[in-house]
């Protein structure tokens, strides 16, 4: 064991170190990328007293097994999961004190797809334009596989008794915080008019999530609205969450790794809140799109961000009192 704290990854399948995204990327032609479930990523960092944009682990579809070299404070959020430390189960969405050498197993339940693991002090990983977010198109990022060793910037003294986690650390997190909705709120897109009355199909029809889902996009199968006008269009910036109809039988929802420009018209755009839900969808699930307004979407988003502010404040206060 070295003096430098590290996190040993004993098993991982589809797993990366990421953050909230490369905010300087879009202006220079790169996708923003970053955690697909932004709320869960922010919450994981808040729960261990990290800054919102600190690097953390995103595990997709499969669980991870981790073993810290030093005492650490970690948190698990995202898809419903029950972390186990040396075989003993602890709640997710709460700070979790892990001693040096203990083994933490984190599964991903069928009720979601992506789990986030933050460690107090975060990881020392390479960055590009200030962000560690992987970009599959340019081949940048820190992949996590079995045997990966992630350098930690700090250790954390053990909290006296892990058992008090749920009671002492009452951060006011609602019980259903990780619940995934299969109804996605969307706002009519800038090109909605090109689809005329056909746009209504988007709101009337169920869609099935296909296996083709990744950081770039999520394809769903179902009744595709037809465009009523045609013609060559100049490439334009496309928003994250844009719903496009490039083929006859599938809709494409653009995620954070999308190429920043495209020539397809945008029917509708997922709200920020709906993007977090979309990040947790599994192939085969049935979803529906629900039309909402920008002001309603902003209100829903602010409610969640204010919850994060409260968690972050309470976590910082609690740890400051303990350490």
């Amino acid at each position: 064991m070295t003096d430098r704290p590290e996190l040993h990854v004993d098993s991982a399948t589809v797993c990366v170190v990421t953050d909230l995204g490369r905010l300087a990327g879009p202006a220079r032609g790169l996708a923003v990328n970053g955690a697909l479930d932004q709320f869960a990523a922010r919450a994981a960092n808040a729960l261990v007293g990290n800054a919102p944009a600190d690097p953390l682990i995103e595990a997709t579809g499969f669980g991870v097994t981790l073993r810290p070299s030093h005492d650490v404070l970690m948190s698990v959020t995202g898809a419903p999961a029950e972390p186990a430390v040396d075989g003993r189960a602890y709640p997710a969405w709460a700070p979790l004190s892990v001693r040096a050498g203990e083994t933490v197993r984190i599964g991903v339940s069928e009720a979601g797809l992506r789990v986030y693991v933050a460690v107090h002090g975060s990881f020392d990983v390479p960055r590009l334009m200030g962000s560690c977010a992987p970009d599959s198109m340019i081949g940048f990022g820190t992949q996590v596989t079995s045997g990966t060793v992630l350098p930690l910037l700090r250790s954390h003294p053990p909290l006296v008794n892990r058992r008090f986690g749920a009671t002492v650390f009452d951060f006011g997190i609602p019980r259903d915080v990780g619940r995934v909705s299969s109804v996605l709120d969307v706002i009519d897109g800038p090109d909605a008019a090109e689809f005329g009355t056909g746009l209504q199909r988007l709101y009337d029809s169920p869609y099935t999530v296909t296996p083709r889902i990744n950081h770039v996009g999520l394809r769903v199968a179902g009744a595709v609205p037809r465009r009523s006008v045609t013609g060559e269009v100049l490439s334009r910036g496309v928003p994250i969450g844009a719903i496009e109809a490039p083929t006859g039988d599938e809709l494409l929802i653009l995620m954070r790794g999308r190429g920043i420009t495209a020539g397809y018209p945008v029917l509708a755009v997922l709200t920020s809140r709906a993007l977090d839900h979309a990040a947790q969808l599994r192939p085969g699930q049935t979803i529906r799109f629900h039309r909402t307004t920008a002001s309603a979407a902003t209100a829903a988003y602010l409610e969640r961000r204010r919850l994060l502010d409260r968690i972050a404040l309470r976590a910082r206060t609690a740890f400051a009192a303990l350490v």
């Binding site: 706002i187 490439s235 602010l302």
Partner: protein, 241 residues
């Protein structure tokens, strides 16, 4: 909003709760493009809020923001009060990049098809692509691709009905009235007419690609021998030593 001096108009449409699209319309495409890049420059330098970022293209700016700090309506009202005609500037670049291209064959599987659409023999099409020094209008997807005005073909080039799953790094492709140089392997629905042997993208520097909007490119036709010799040479400005 109409500004008769500039003969350009802006229209702002919501794109969800975290972005708006600003489309600039006008008869003079250079003027429209300059306004688009000036607006993006102002936004990317914190004109409204540090969390507001802008993706400028030919005639539009995608403005993205964190709805925690601003709303689309606030952003739109700031942009409407921004003077579309004031000041100098626009896209930052001003350099020239020579781009050697191997046309046709495996490097450009759609070259003959494009020649058919254009109605010229292949050598004439290559001459048109290599004529002049088109401006890099914007950096687009995927991965900071250099997007320029297309060659003077006289007709728009239709995209592929079914996009290719992978085109190689360095592909030079056309669609509509645009040309694109793609730094990385990616799916594409554009018509690939050639390929440059130069290395375009690197991830050990924040610049990532060696060009900016406002730079110009000169396509230079090369043969397979030259292609092999140049393979892996870093792309850079003509006057760099």
């Amino acid at each position: 909003m109409t500004d008769t001096r500039a003969a350009t108009t802006m229209s702002i449409s919501p794109c969800g709760d975290a972005a708006v699209r600003v489309a600039v319309d006008g008869d003079d495409t250079d003027r429209v493009w300059t306004a688009v890049h000036r607006l993006a420059g102002w936004l990317n330098h914190g004109g409204i809020h540090p969390t507001v970022t802008a993706v400028p293209t030919y005639d539009a700016v995608l403005v993205e923001f964190d709805p925690y700090y601003s709303t689309g309506e606030e952003i739109a009202s700031h942009i409407r009060s921004w003077d579309i005609t004031a000041g100098e500037g626009g896209a930052a670049g001003g350099g020239v990049i020579d781009v050697p291209v191997l046309f046709g064959g495996e490097a450009g599987p759609d070259l003959e098809w494009v020649a058919d659409v254009v109605g010229h023999p292949v050598p004439k099409v290559i001459d048109l692509v290599c004529a002049g020094e088109p401006l890099i209008r914007c950096l687009g997807g995927p991965a900071a691709s250099a997007m320029t005005d297309g060659p003077d073909f006289g007709v728009p080039i239709p995209r592929l009905a079914t996009p290719r799953l992978r085109v190689p790094p360095g592909a030079v492709s056309v669609a509509g009235r645009q040309t694109v140089i793609g730094p990385v392997a990616a799916p594409s629905g554009w018509r690939q007419i050639g390929r440059t042997p130069l290395d375009i993208l690197r991830t050990d520097t924040d610049a990532v690609v060696p060009y900016r909007p406002g730079d110009r490119v000169r396509f230079v036709a090369i043969d397979e021998t030259a292609y092999a010799e140049l393979l892996g040479t870093p792309m850079r400005y003509r006057h760099d030593d």
